[in-house]
């Protein structure tokens, strides 16, 4: 049965990694590109097979045991894979989107000298991502979890000779690690609470537990911290915008479509646990909402095309967490899927633009590219509409599902979230307008060289554009006459899902958001096309709010001042004062004291016989005194 061959899905990309890694300097670029892409395609094909087989199978949960990894006392950690609806659909996304981005990369990275390295890293990333998705226990998931972090590190720092890129890579890794510690501690809690780390042993036990259990709440909180790191939530989100230092396909694949959604995947996977911790769910909702709004506000004023997209990603991830927080696991996961489509698309389009402009990323130097890059423009338009949430594009359905649940959960939150959605529409269209409309603002010399990207790049764009447009079909709500296939599909995994609002309310909610989005677009249109407004240069004065937004709320600077600098100062203090002066000082002063004692004591040996004899007599007298006293 094809499901039993699931180990092939990650293995094949691994083989690709090994071949490309070893042959990175010897194989030709076309061969590397072919190998790199085709292994993913094979994986994709198998994934499709698995998906279909699973759909046909009555048993929706298959655990495929490979080998024992760690055995220590009560702790058993096998390397085994879990194929269930959730992982099966993730497989499709990871391999499918991954394949498209591989194809795209062939064109995008064509002139880069690290071509072979790049493909091997991408293959490795897919391997780890698949491990993350397929793992049947938290530890295998954690391998993938950290593995994708590693690949993220490698790919952000792909152009490592630029040390700020290398720093961005390091930052990404370290921030992820902060979350990972939370994850790990959560796993420890799980192990001590349930005696296992395997999903198949944990969830049945958790299902019998009552909500409000403190341990469960702690587990949920720790897992959530892990998810925060990986999925760039407040306060660990600053690495993601910096991660745009990597090549654009990387941004599309890792920092938009797949890796950053791992946190959502993990929480969705553990939904039974989170259901038992309503308080933590609330926290998740608040964090998600805050992230969504903060990132959206920052995105309003960014001028780097990739940064806009990055903050938009953070914002969208915030929505997903908001969904998770209000119990709309299906909605959140639905948004993961649609977001994978449209955000990958947007990034790839941005990449296409950047490619065409020879690595120009500043929107202030773009403009009027609509004619020159028609395919890119159209696809990007589709992506923008999708993310803005206009029906019938995919983003509309997923976002509205989340918002509907939020509405039921808390009206105020809904209000804020909807406002965030309007902001999304505004900054996305701002980006689109600044890039493709108006006049080209770069040098004339550069303008002549602008050309549409090669086929290998445009085809993935088109495919993704189609998916972005129609992807929503898998989750059309009943209110709109659909049957929400996705939630049915996921129902074996996600048992509990929030109540849906009645249809009338749903219609109103939809209407509000659609109207609001349209108004936002109109405002953007007015500002950036009618008034031809161009974002000010870095030095220009801004209003307080704009300044905050432009400087990303100074979060990096705050971290610097609150964490990095104090830590460095403590480090120097520990090293120079505590270690060298106190701890070592005590040790040294013992030696020093002995030496000084020696210096002093040897003076007794004055060379004078009279003194010697006197000292002897003193000794004799004291001994005799002892005798006298002891009798």
């Amino acid at each position: 049965m094809i499901i039993d061959l699931v180990w092939l899905v990650p293995l094949i990309p691994l083989i690709g990694f090994i071949i490309n890694g070893l042959g990175r300097n010897t194989l030709s670029k076309s061969l590397i590109g072919f190998i790199g892409s085709s292994v993913i395609f094979v994986s994709f094909a198998i994934s499709v097979g698995i998906f279909l087989a699973l759909g046909a199978d009555a048993n929706k949960s298959h655990e495929i045991f490979l080998f024992d990894w760690i055995n220590a006392g009560a702790l058993h950690i096998p390397v085994s894979f879990l194929v269930d609806p959730l992982s099966a659909i993730m497989l499709l996304i990871v391999t499918g989107v991954g394949f498209l981005i591989h194809i795209y990369s062939i064109g995008y990275m064509h002139s880069d000298e690290g071509f072979g390295k790049f493909f091997s890293y991408l293959n490795l990333f897919i391997f780890f991502m698949l491990l993350l998705v397929l793992g049947s226990n938290y530890i295998v998931m954690f391998i993938g979890w950290e593995g994708v972090g590693l690949c993220s590190y490698l790919l952000i720092g792909f152009w490592y000779t630029n040390s700020s890129y290398a720093s961005a890579a390091k930052k990404a890794f370290v921030m992820n690690r902060i979350g990972d510690l939370g994850f790990l501690l959560g796993v420890f809690f799980i192990f001590t609470t349930f005696g296992s780390v395997e999903f198949s042993k944990i969830f049945p036990q958790a299902a019998n537990m009552l909500p409000g259990n403190t341990t469960i709440a702690l587990i949920a909180l720790l897992l959530f911290i892990g998810a925060c790191g990986k999925s760039a939530q407040l306060p660990l989100f600053t690495w993601l915008p910096d991660a745009m230092a990597g090549p654009t396909p990387v941004s599309a694949l890792i920092h938009a479509a797949t890796m950053v959604t791992a946190g959502i995947y993990m929480i969705a996977r553990s939904n039974l646990i989170f259901d038992l911790a309503p308080l933590i769910q609330h926290v998740i909702a608040i964090v998600g909402l805050a992230t969504a709004i903060v990132a959206a506000i920052i995105a309003l004023t960014q001028t780097d095309i990739k940064k806009v997209l990055a903050y938009s990603t953070v914002s969208q991830l915030g929505y997903m967490f908001l969904g998770l927080g209000v119990g709309a696991y299906n909605g959140a996961f639905f948004h993961v899927i649609t977001h994978a489509f449209f955000k990958a698309l947007l990034f790839l389009c941005a990449g296409s633009v950047i490619h065409a402009l020879h690595h120009e990323q500043d929107m202030r130097h773009m403009g009027g590219l609509r004619k020159k890059l028609p395919v890119t423009f159209i696809t990007m338009l589709i992506g923008t509409i999708a993310i803005a949430g206009l029906p019938p594009f995919s983003g509309f359905f997923s976002k509205d599902e989340i918002l509907a649940h939020v509405y039921l959960h808390d009206k105020v939150m809904w209000g804020i979230a909807v406002f965030g959605a309007f902001l999304t529409a505004f900054y996305m269209f701002r980006m689109l307008f600044l890039t493709f409309y108006g006049k080209y603002r770069g040098t004339h010399h550069a303008e002549e060289k602008i050309h549409e990207s090669p086929k290998s790049m445009t085809i993935p764009l088109i495919v993704l554009a189609v998916l972005s447009a129609v992807g929503g079909i898998i989750g059309v709500p009943e209110a709109l006459g659909g049957n929400h296939w996705l939630s049915h599909w996921l129902s074996p995994v996600i048992k509990h899902t929030g109540e849906s609002p009645d249809h009338a309310t749903e219609y109103i909610l939809m209407a509000v958001s659609v109207v609001g989005v349209l108004i936002s677009i109109a405002i953007a249109y007015g500002k950036y096309i009618k008034q031809n407004h161009i974002p000010a240069s870095d030095e220009a004065k801004r209003s307080v709010l704009a300044n905050l937004s432009y400087h990303k709320f100074y979060v990096d600077e705050i971290y610097d001042a609150l964490i990095r600098k104090p830590l460095d100062a403590i480090s120097v203090f520990f090293y120079k004062i505590v270690d060298n002066k106190i701890v070592d000082g005590i040790v040294n002063s013992l030696g020093w004291g002995t030496t000084e004692a020696s210096k002093g004591l040897r003076l007794i040996q004055s060379g004078n016989v009279g003194f010697y004899i006197f000292m002897m007599v003193v000794g004799i007298i004291s001994l005799l005194l002892y005798t006298y006293l002891s009798l």
Binding site: S598, L601, R602, I604, V609, M616, I620
Partner: protein
Amino acid sequence: MNIIITITVTALVVLYAGLFKAKKALLPITLIGLLISLAFVATSWNTNQTYFGMMQMDNFALAFSGITILGTLFVFLLTQNYFAADSENIAEYFTLILFALAGIIIMVSYKNMSMLFIGIEIMSVCLYILAGIRKSNFASNEASLKYFLMGAFSTGFLLFGITLIYGATGSFDLETINQYLVGNYKSISPMFYPGVILMLIGLSFKVGAAPFHFWTPDVYEGAPTLITTFMSTVVKTAGFAAFLRLFADTFAPLHDFWLPPLVAIVCITLFIGNVTALFQKNFKRMLAYSSISHAGYLLFSLVTLSANSSNNVLVYAAAYTFASIIAFAVLIMVKQKTGNDHFDSFNGLAKRNPLTALVLTIAMLSLAGIPLTAGFIGKYLMFLNVMGEYQILLVAFAILNALVGFYYYFKVIVAMYFKEGNEIELEVPLQYKAVLIFSVVITLFLGVYPAVILNLI
């Protein structure tokens, strides 16, 4: 008895050989005499003979005789080219050393206070002279006079002690004294106690235990190196044998009484010896202080009296003797090359003389008490012995001192291996080679397989 006669006769023969200018024959005669006495030691093993009620040649005496004779043999081997440069009275030197050895044999086998006294004095008088045989050398003069004045002074206390014990017991015989103690345990004459203390003082002086150690560094430094070798190895061993015979056997019933002062002496000795050695710039003087500290460790055997005490002293003394002989032998060679005995003279020695440096290193490791050398076994036995009575604090104190010891013993190793210096190449005469090899083999053998010596006595 045979042993003393052999040694004395050898001394006399040497003296006469000197008269007849038979310089070349001196060393062979001496060596033959010593070897014969060694053979006597071997043959009288386990016979436990008593001579005139004055000397008891039990295994204790024989074992210590063996070690001291062997040590003296090595010292004689080191005389090659040593005295020739200064003087033509080699025969007299040889005679005096042999006389001193005779005194030592008496010291290790006495059964009567008078023998102890005679033995100590024969040895001391010879050493007073030997320390001063570099007549025109100021340091040698000073060493001799200092040693003499302080030695005579301390003899007074030793005699006073003997007198008081005699007054209390009416006898000089060790056995009688011991029986007196056992018999009148409740009514021991009050004169006895200060007598014991005064004897403790007198003997502490002889072995160089603080605070009666003041002569040691000055005399060791000032005396000719070879004589220092003799003093710090053979003489010291003999002093401990004498100490042990008296305190571990005869005065054993009063252990509770003399233990506290002894512990005080041990602690002061360890502290002063080790700590003062730390700052020395002169290798010879450092060895003098190290010998003080070793006196402290050796006195451990008296802190806890057990069946093994004397054997422990034997092992320790053997370890110490052979390691010290190596150190002094190398020192003599270095001094002959460089003209001084500072640590600096050893700088870079290992480059041109790797084997000599290795041997000296092993000797230093042994003195410091690193496992797989005899010195470790010695220290271990001492600690073990004292720990048996759970005098843990004392052992801990000794361990701290041993730690200080590592510093100064390693100073010479550091100088030889790690410092750049005048790359002298030592000429190692054949006899020196023999001494070095023998000593190092013994040091290592006892370190790896001490079983042979553990139950000797």
